[in-house]
């Protein structure tokens, strides 16, 4: 059986950054397992720009951003295999993978970094009634067909979901010659970046209908049309607001779900809010030596933060292999989000083990204007930061200092909440 110190599941932006960080930390024995025919993950099909502003102070397209990392991986001669699917990971950290050349094979890992990314929610999960014709695509699948293979999925398009993927595809399809008639969003606010509303919808005169959803699908063999309806504050369609649109294509951009089949099967405990693993300050899951980063941990908006998070995971995995599991005496401070903060990553912090500065990432559950982020150590507020706007579609972060936490051994709980004043 092959043996590696660190096995990384996924060669997308998370896996690549983790591998590089692990090597920078001195680990030599690293293997990346990637199921696609090339490294780069989802970035390969994200041909639009907007990546890398934080990491490289440049605006790059997805493939260019990926290339920065794949070039480094090549330079470092970090091992990777392509066209390889991981079938199973055992709790003892044996990774079973499969490809044409080697068939089924096992790898014993000392540390594993989960970097499998996420998948898209489908129409079935939305229970839109009607026929089941051809012409309904998740936005990512359509993106793959258009950008990687050069095919048009349709001529007249309706997009459900104003997350970034839906917005980007609105522009993409328009530039390739399709007519995008409307983008409908069930929430009263858009899930994507404001810049994408401007440069993907406003630039092309594509209307955005907030608080609307698709309530019916017509067309038995190929899509012929859909019905939009306004929804109330519980998301239920309002009778009398129905509007029919003829279209041959419906793109769904209705949510991303971290792909944790492998994680769950090996006993990694999930956070039901994120659908990703619960991790400690080292981004380690409940299974010793198994780390998680990127979209598989929680869905990100900016790849720059994926790379940052993955680098931390890579370094920590490398340290784990070098030094073994560090279980110093000390408490596990519980982190939690309340009052508008839906979740935090990580969920616990052990101050002895953390770096000098720990980034805590979180998301709010609603749009908040002119509010504050309140951070509490036990019951004492230590941070009161004003934020002009916070939205569910934009991940937030705060930084915690190790020094401060060590200075106060009585802190057993850190709470992050949204406050009015």
């Amino acid at each position: 059986m092959k043996e590696y110190d660190i096995v990384i599941i996924g060669g997308g932006p998370a896996g690549l950054a983790a591998a590089i960080a692990a090597r920078d930390n001195g680990s030599e024995s690293i293997l990346i397992l990637e199921r696609d025919k090339e490294l780069g993950g989802i970035l390969n099909q994200c041909i639009h720009n907007g990546f890398g502003l934080h990491t490289f102070k440049e605006e790059l397209t997805g493939p260019e951003y990926a290339a920065r990392f794949t070039e480094q991986v090549e330079k470092y001669k970090i091992e990777y295999v392509l066209n390889t699917m991981v079938i199973e990971i055992s709790p003892e950290k044996v990774v079973t993978a499969m490809n044409r050349e080697e068939g089924l094979f096992d790898i014993q890992a000392k540390a594993i970094i989960l970097a499998m990314g996420c998948r898209e929610r489908s129409r079935g999960a939305l229970n839109i009634p009607g026929y089941r014709p051809a012409g309904i695509f998740s936005a990512g699948t359509a993106q793959r067909l258009v950008n990687m293979e050069g095919f048009m999925p349709g001529r007249e398009v309706v997009i459900l979901g104003s997350g970034d993927i839906g917005l980007i595809m609105a522009r993409r399809l328009t530039l390739e010659g399709a007519k995008v008639k409307v983008v409908a969003e069930i929430m009263p606010y858009s899930g994507g970046l404001k810049r994408n509303i401007v440069q993907c919808l406003d630039d092309y005169g594509i209307p955005l209908k907030l608080s609307h959803t698709v309530i019916e699908i017509r067309g038995k063999e190929r899509l012929e049309g859909i019905t939009l309806a306004a929804v109330d504050d519980r998301g239920k369609p309002i009778a009398g607001t129905e509007e029919e649109y003829s279209c041959d294509t419906l793109l769904l951009s209705v949510g991303l779900i971290p792909e944790n089949e492998l994680s769950g099967a090996m006993g990694v405990v999930m956070n039901p809010v994120t659908s990703g693993p619960i991790v400690n300050e080292s981004l380690e899951t409940n299974v010793e030596g198994v780390f998680a980063c990127g979209n598989v941990l929680h869905v990100h908006d900016l790849v720059d933060f994926v790379s940052e998070e993955a680098a931390a995971a890579g370094k920590n995995a490398s340290n784990y292999v070098k030094n073994g599991e560090q279980k110093p005496n000390g408490r596990e401070i519980i982190l939690e989000g309340t009052d508008g903060v839906r979740y935090t990553v990580p969920s616990t912090i052990n101050p002895e083990r953390m770096e000098a500065t720990q980034i805590v990432r979180f998301r709010v559950g609603n749009v908040y204007k002119n509010c504050y982020i309140g951070v509490y150590f036990n019951d004492e507020r230590v941070l009161h930061r004003k934020r002009m706007v916070m939205a569910p579609g934009e991940m937030e972060e705060i930084k915690l200092e190790k020094e401060k936490l060590l200075l106060h051994p009585d802190i057993d709980r850190i709470t992050i909440r949204v406050e009015e004043a």
Binding site: R100, P133, E176
Partner: protein, 478 residues
């Protein structure tokens, strides 16, 4: 001139074809869709009923019980998944106990074995921890089971084809006229002549029957909406859980599927449109009735919904006979529930009618054993490794939700009556049937169909007809 033409390649028509292929006969199945198993046969509860529900002394009851008894052996012969998981009919109040008893009595009279009424709540809870706390008693039928209707239909058809029966697809029968010695069928693909016709046309069977007979029948499409839940929910119940039946049918049931999913459904909505397989908001909402019998249903695990049309004849009975006023025309009509269960028995019954009437000789080359698609899940690690070494395509995963490999897709495409569309691939291999609902595998599956069959990418369809996925190439309209 054919000896026999069977209209419809659903599970009835395919079962007839398979049983008929035991004899030396010149026969053909005409199917209006692009593949077998495209009508009711692909959208039902996938249940092998025990047989207590059908009216005593009815043909439905007889063929139900017979089909149920044939299924375990047949599933081995045809190499299809089948599980005799048993079923429970749930009684929620004392006042309805006589109805439960009536089912039991009817079942016994129909010849169903091992039926039992259980009132011991502790035992019921042990059998099904997620059954409602309101349960007062259950009728347990251990001979009931679950099957894959796609695999059953496809396997029957494949076996028939391998044993010499022709299949013609995209061939819609438009009219039937009596001619000297038989019948002339005008179809969308030309004229066919045959001595005997078997009318296994599902919801359209009344259309063809009424073309040849004075005594009319009437088939109402009765729509059933269903939810399909993720495999994570597959163990929520261990058996098929039925509500006590009413005049509209067997009620909303909850059942595991043979692939490990959970199905909730069906509704029972009579409609006019014989193509009306669209689900409706009302239909899907009605499925919440299932929680009357099963608690804590994980509805967030729904991965898709669909609807099928039962061919409900006015008299609610199978019509399987040669017509008196149309000799040479054999009805196989009104095949609503328990149609799937009865299909092997239906096949035998019709084949026997034909054997006798046409005086058919036995086909000495008949081979009733059919080897199905290799399911990698059933192989050990060593067997998997050996397979991939022999055929590397089995090492390339196409559908990651259901772990379906390229090898399985190639098999599905190249075997007799192979897949030509995405749905054809899905029914044979399960690629696209998983939780991401083909989001990941669609581009790959299309590429393989294109490569193996030479179909241009823009002509690959979801389910034949006008269901192309792609309309053209980038910038082709600018």
């Amino acid at each position: 001139m054919y000896d026999v033409i069977i209209i419809g390649a659903g599970v009835s028509g395919s079962a007839v074809a398979r049983e008929l292929s035991r004899y030396k006969v010149n026969a053909c199945v005409l199917e209006k869709e692009e593949d077998v198993c495209c009508g009711t046969s692909k959208a039902n509860s996938a249940i092998i009923h025990a047989g207590y529900d059908a009216a005593e002394g009815s043909l439905m009851a007889k063929l139900n019980v017979e089909g149920n008894q044939i299924m375990p052996e047949l599933s081995k012969e045809l190499d299809i998944p089948f599980e005799q998981c048993g079923s429970l009919v749930v009684c929620l109040d004392e006042a309805s106990l006589p109805n439960l008893q009536a089912l039991y009595d009817r079942g016994v009279k129909n010849g169903v074995e091992d039926l039992e009424i259980i009132t011991d709540k502790a035992r019921i809870r042990e059998m099904e921890p997620n059954l409602t706390d309101e349960v007062v008693a259950v009728l347990s039928a251990p001979t009931a089971g679950i099957v894959c209707p796609f695999h059953l239909n496809i396997a029957l058809a494949e076996n028939a084809y391998t044993n010499g029966i022709d299949f013609k697809f995209d061939t819609e029968v438009e009219s039937i006229e009596p001619i000297e010695g038989g019948w002339k069928l005008e179809t969308s693909q030309g004229v066919y002549e045959t001595r005997y016709v078997v009318n296994a046309a599902g919801v359209y069977a009344d259309r063809f029957h009424n073309m040849v007979s004075e005594s009319k029948i009437h088939i109402t499409p009765r729509r059933g909406d269903y939810f399909l839940l993720d495999k994570n929910a597959g163990k929520h119940v261990n058996r098929t859980i039925f509500a006590l039946p009413s005049k509209y049918g067997k009620g909303v049931l909850v059942t595991p599927t043979v692939h490990g999913n959970l199905i909730i459904g069906p509704t029972a909505v009579d409609i006019e449109d014989k193509e009306g397989t669209a689900t409706t908001r009302e239909g899907l909402d009605e499925l919440s009735k299932a929680s009357l019998n099963v608690k804590n249903l994980p509805m967030r695990q729904v991965i898709t919904s669909f609807a099928g049309l039962r061919a409900h004849e006015d008299h609610h009975e199978f019509i399987i006979r040669e017509l008196e006023d149309a000799p040479g025309f054999v009805d196989c009509a009104g095949i609503e529930s328990p149609g799937l269960t009865s299909s092997p028995a239906i096949g035998k019954m019709v084949a026997e009618i034909l054997r006798e009437k046409l005086d058919l000789d036995v086909n000495p080359d008949f081979n009733g054993t059919r080897k199905g698609n290799i399911d990698l899940d059933t192989l050990s690690k060593e067997e998997k490794a050996a397979l991939i070494e022999k055929e590397p395509a089995y090492g390339n995963i196409i559908c990651r939700c259901e772990m379906v490999t390229e090898g399985e897709l190639l098999d599905a495409i190249h075997r007799p009556l192979g897949a030509r569309t995405l749905d054809g691939i899905k029914r044979r291999t399960r690629a696209g049937a998983g939780r991401c609902q083909a989001g990941f595998c669609t581009p790959k599956t299309m590429e393989i169909l294109h490569r193996e069959l030479g179909i241009p990418m823009t002509e690959i369809t979801k389910s034949g007809g006008d269901s192309q996925l792609l309309v053209g190439y980038n910038k082709d309209r600018i």
